[in-house]
Symmetry: C2
Subunit: 153 residues, 2 copies
């Protein structure tokens, strides 16, 4: 009843996520580093041209909802790791910009995060990781890319 390939893969996804992600999160916390959500946002900002991104762009790239992004940026701003910058050409829009402190935090967190990832995936060889990444990327692929709210448009 429940051992079709799809179902097995599905349960694997659920179980792996529920075990690995909290474990990694706990390691970051234990090391006194920033949370995964913060990290994700800072990372995208750092990778963006000018180290800044509009809120909506940020929301699309990060694993968080737009709502959550707005609040995380608030928190980051309060912590001095990012700041809001109004878009002068579009009054509705505003940017989140990475501050130097934000880059520092990112740099400090990276080795810890990296180590946590390695540890969580230590049962897999690099080749298996590559394979896994490919399959997951494929599964989450293109047309799923942005059905954020409604199925049809």
């Amino acid at each position: 009843m429940a051992d079709d390939p799809d179902v097995a893969a599905w349960r694997g996804l659920l179980v792996a996520h529920s075990r690995l992600v909290p474990a990694a999160e706990a390691e970051l916390r234990a090391a006194g580093q920033i949370s995964l959500s913060w990290y994700d946002v800072l990372l995208e900002l750092n990778a963006a041209p000018g180290r800044r991104l509009r809120m909506s762009e940020l929301g699309e790239r990060v694993v968080l909802s737009r709502t959550r992004v707005s609040r995380v940026v608030d928190e980051l701003a309060a912590a001095g790791l990012a700041e809001r910058q109004p878009d002068e050409t579009d009054g509705r829009s505003s940017f989140a910009v990475l501050t130097p402190d934000g880059r520092d935090a990112l740099r400090r967190a990276w080795p810890v995060y990296r180590a946590a990832i390695r540890k969580q995936l230590s049962r897999l060889t690099p080749d298996q990781c590559r394979e896994l990444a490919t399959l997951l990327g494929l599964a989450a692929g293109a047309d799923h890319a942005a059905p954020p709210r409604i199925a049809a448009r």
Copy 2:
């Protein structure tokens, strides 16, 4: 900086989970079926001998925390899909038992859930699903099996 196999697999896991799982959940909801949490619990109960399980056993098998299990069973009981049964040989312990209505709900939800899973994983061939299941199972494997609270024992 971020294209090591581990990291790619990690981000794949995060992204795939954040896209696929809410989508499936939404499909269940749209079809007027029970939630994923409820489904998981009912499924384990159904598979258990006597269609009943101690709360702690349930907590280990399901993707939910023990705390959450306790509350989900409350909800299921309120909905008539399960009931609590005191363990007569151990006054501390109690069972959650599947009711006939619970089995019905499970049977009704299964085709929908199944279809949702298929749809979410439709970009993968059966072989790829098998491969994915293997890798995820391996990654979440044995020694991660139960570090629920404390690392060392």
